[in-house]
């Protein structure tokens, strides 16, 4: 886990089981946000949220052990003030509705995260 120095910018916790994706997300969002941590496991993500108190948690929907929806639900229970943005490989109406139903701030397609994710994060703040 990697902790970045804090500032007035949004504090992010990134959750994805693919290291390559995490790295790329950090590179992409780093200039505009403070990435307070990256985790590759859903279970760890809930605990890290409580400990790190990020403004936004970006969670990959499809993960072993605990998938993104479950992570989102638990974070919303334990830390209701933290916004959760779900990333999905493919976003359809069903995923969108299910994600929003459990309290996700947004459900965004991974490949569109440049165009949609940053505005979404910034929109949460």
């Amino acid at each position: 886990m990697k902790t970045l120095p804090t500032s007035g910018r949004p504090r992010l916790l990134l959750v994805d089981d693919h290291q390559g994706i995490l790295t790329a997300l950090v590179r992409l969002l780093g200039p505009d946000c403070d990435v307070v941590g990256t985790v590759s496991d859903g279970l760890v993500a809930v605990e890290a949220t409580t400990r790190l108190q990020p403004d936004v948690v970006v969670v990959d929907l499809n993960m072993p052990q605990m998938n993104g929806l479950e992570v989102c639900r638990q974070i919303r229970q334990t830390n209701p003030h933290v916004r959760v943005i779900l990333l999905s490989a493919a976003v359809d109406q069903g995923i969108q509705e299910r994600g929003l139903a459990i309290g996700a701030f947004a459900v965004i397609a991974k490949q569109k995260c440049i165009d949609d994710l940053l505005p979404a994060i910034l929109g949460t703040v």
Binding site: H18, G20, T23, A24, L25, L28, P64, A89, Q111, I114
Partner: protein, 754 residues
């Protein structure tokens, strides 16, 4: 046989003959033992009763050759020459004829002869004993004379009439026909037939003139009988014997005619108790012999010659008289032999021949039927089995081909000539060289049997498959004949091909079905590196827009892009083959590699179902021979089943484990173990049946196909319950013989891949 003297009708001739005989007697002295017997008949030589009497007497003498009897017959002919004239002439004749010859015995036939003999006895036959026949009805006053013996002849008037009345019970009248110029029968007859006359009316036809006689006979009313005694004609010329008149009477009569003389039987009379000439002659001969043997004539009693019941068979038939009603010992003459009696030998012969012929024909018919049945059976069997025979004469190249075989190819029997070239032309061109080569080898003897599957061309251009079998017959060391069968195996071949195609198709479809479940998640897998690439590339673009880009960061991002791209390629490569239609390979492979492939392929599904997969591979396993993709498919299928089976378990504790192990017998065992529902609600008997499934959307193909694949690899696939709950599916594979074990890889004992 007696010697016949010349007839005395011409005196001169008789004298000459007598002289001749006399001279013979003088010249050659007769041996002393020769006896001379002279018979004197009352009538002419041709009188019907004379020949049988003479024959019987002569026969009696012939019976005694030791007595050496010379028998002569002379004829008084008193009936033709009435008065003394004939007697005197005969006296002179005999006197001269037998002059100097001792006559040892004289036979006198009938009363006139006896009178003649007695009259001239001393003159002609001095001292010679006399044997006579005499009618008992006639008076013989001279019978006391010394040296006489004889028989009496009796007439069966009454006996015959009684007999006739028995045979014709409804007879109302009796007509008696009797006429002789010098004899009066009627008195005798009236006395004899008196008892008869008391029962029925008896009339007499004593008519001298023949036409009148016959007219009277014709007038005899029905229900009558006629007793024909005799009829001697008085008119000169056209002499008729009584027997000839009997014939005329019988012809004229409308009623049965009976008679009392044997010589009349056969002329049309029914029969009667008759005086029998032959019996009379035999009796006379017998007495003569006794006398010649030394018996005294006086000691021989005079006995009557018994009457003989004699019948004409034809007349019995005509009048419907049953033979059984005749008196015992009846002499039935003129029996017309039946066709059977005449020709029984021919009939029996013909019957035997017919029977033999019949038997032969029957046997042939049966044999033919049997053959036909056999042929029918053969044809049926031939058609049913699709088998036909062929027989190739190697000397002439003629070949008999079962018409059935020609029929299979769409030809009538006559449409293909029976020569090997004509038949061979129908062999599929691609197969012809192979077929001819094998046939050649069989003919040359280098191949013991000829058995080849080949194609034949049907008339319509289609192809039929034949299994040809045959063997060569060698004669005198040379191949003479090549015969065998062709079996139509087209259906088998076709179904085999169809089956193979179907199986291949099924395998592919099944694989696609099985893989289809993974396909979506595989796309996800590939998407990960693609997403990484995109994100990194976009990050770089952002940095490039800044005044002083951090080149080191950009380099790191681009390196990640390259890595992700390569990983994506890898994934695509690994998955692409699974979806391709391909031929089955048989190559040495490490089963642990297959396990790794499957762990990677199954990962997306495992993840989406929150199942943890553990692979416990034993390193350094011997290589197995097989098809990597097919074995992947088996393992993927088993893992897929396990994933499904764990659905009922809590998401956090769903586990699937793949393990590989080397068995002590050298085989490799692969097991897939899960903690799912196990075999509850599973029909174990049908578990591997095609289309058996417990899943709502299952096809039931997976396990069946998996087992087929494993068995095709020489292995075995079986299920067993997991002692810790759930199921275990294991399969074994034989290891490659002499194969060098793959070098131990760096694979860990247990790698968590998901």
């Amino acid at each position: 046989m007696h010697r016949r003297p010349a007839r005395p009708q011409v005196l001169g001739l008789g004298l000459m003959v007598a002289a001749l005989l006399l001279s013979c007697t003088v010249v050659s002295a007769q041996p002393p033992h020769v006896r001379t017997v002279v018979a004197v008949h009352w009538s002419t030589e041709d009188f019907p009763s004379n020949p049988p009497v003479d024959a019987a007497i002569a026969a009696a003498f012939r019976e005694r050759p030791d007595l050496s009897v010379d028998y002569f017959a002379e004829y008084l002919e008193s009936d033709r020459f009435p008065g003394d004239r004939a007697s005197l002439a005969l006296r002179d004749y005999i006197g001269r004829k037998y002059d100097g010859r001792r006559i040892d015995l004289v036979v006198a036939i009938a009363e006139p002869s006896l009178q003649f003999v007695l009259r001239y006895r001393d003159e002609l036959f001095p001292g010679a004993p006399i044997v006579y026949t005499s009618n008992a009805a006639a008076s013989t006053n001279a019978l006391s004379t010394q040296g006489l013996a004889g028989v009496t002849t009796i007439d069966g008037y009454r006996e015959t009439v009684e007999l006739a009345l028995r045979l014709h019970p409804s007879t109302a009248r009796l007509f008696v026909v009797a006429h002789a110029p010098n004899l009066s029968y009627e008195d005798v007859l009236r006395e004899e037939l008196a008892p008869i006359a008391q029962r029925i009316e008896v009339s007499y036809i004593n008519e001298a003139v023949l036409p009148r006689l016959l007219a009277s006979v014709e007038a005899v009313p029905p229900g009558s009988l006629i007793l024909y005694i005799r009829h001697s004609r008085e008119e000169p010329g056209n002499r008729l014997f009584p027997s000839e008149v009997a014939r005329l009477v019988a012809e004229a009569s409308a009623v049965p005619v009976y008679g009392i003389f044997d010589t009349h039987i056969g002329t049309g009379l029914v029969g009667g108790f008759v005086r029998d000439a032959k019996t009379t002659g035999t009796r006379v001969g017998s007495i003569a012999l006794r006398i010649l043997d030394g018996a005294r004539p006086e000691d021989i009693s005079v006995e009557p010659v018994p009457l003989r019941p004699m019948f004409d068979w034809r007349q019995l038939q005509r009048w419907g008289i049953d033979v059984s009603r005749l008196p015992a010992g009846a002499d039935i003459r003129f029996r017309v032999p039946t066709t059977w009696e005449l020709y029984w030998r021919y009939i029996v012969g013909a019957l035997v021949l017919t029977v033999i012929q019949g038997v032969i024909i029957g046997a042939l018919v049966i044999e033919r039927a049997r053959r036909r049945q056999s042929q029918t059976r053969y044809n049926l069997a031939s058609a049913a089995g699709g088998v036909g025979v062929w027989d190739w004469n190697l000397a002439t190249n003629e070949i008999y081909v079962d018409p059935f075989l020609k029929h299979i190819l769409g030809y009538a029997d006559h449409e293909i000539r029976n020569y090997i070239d004509d038949w061979g032309r129908l062999v599929h061109p691609d197969d012809a060289p192979m077929v001819m080569a094998q046939a050649q080898q069989a003919i040359e003897g280098t191949r013991p049997t000829y058995e080849v599957e080949h194609r034949m061309l049907h008339r319509d251009g289609s192809v039929r498959w034949f299994l040809a079998r045959g063997s060569v017959v060698f004669k005198h060391g040379r191949a003479a004949q090549f015969a065998g069968t062709d079996t139509d195996i087209t259906d088998r071949k076709t179904s085999q091909q169809v089956l193979e195609q179907t199986q291949a198709e099924l395998t592919r479809v099944s694989r696609l079905t099985a893989l289809g479940e993974f396909a979506a998640t595989i796309a996800h897998e590939v998407r990960q590196p693609l997403t990484a690439i995109t994100l990194n590339a976009k990050a770089c673009l952002r940095w490039l827009r800044e005044a002083t880009p951090d080149l080191a960061e950009m380099r790191a991002a681009l390196e990640d892009v390259v890595d992700a791209g390569e990983r994506a390629n890898e994934l695509v490569d690994r998955n692409r083959e699974l979806f391709r239609q391909r031929s089955v390979k048989n190559e040495p492979l490490d089963i642990n590699d297959v396990v790794r492939d499957v762990a990677a392929l199954a990962r997306p599904r495992l993840q989406s179902n929150s199942v943890v997969l553990t692979a416990s591979s034993t390193p350094g396993l011997p290589l197995v021979n097989g098809d990597r993709i097919e074995l992947q498919q088996v393992l993927l299928n088993l893992v897929g089943n396990s994933i499904d089976a764990t659905e009922a378990v809590d998401a956090g504790s769903r586990r699937v484990e793949i393990s590989t192990v080397l068995l002590t017998d050298g085989r490799v065992k692969v097991s897939v173990r899960d903690n799912g529902v196990g075999f509850e609600n599973v029909d174990m008997k049908r578990l591997f049946s095609f289309s058996y499934t417990t899943k709502p959307s299952g096809t039931g193909v997976g396990l069946s196909l998996s087992r087929s694949i494993v068995e095709a690899h020489g292995g075995r696939l079986w299920p067993e319950p997991n002692p810790e709950g759930g199921a275990i599916f294991s399969f074994t594979l034989p290891v490659q013989e002499l194969a060098v074990a793959a070098p131990p890889t760096a694979a860990p004992g247990a790698v968590e891949v998901a």
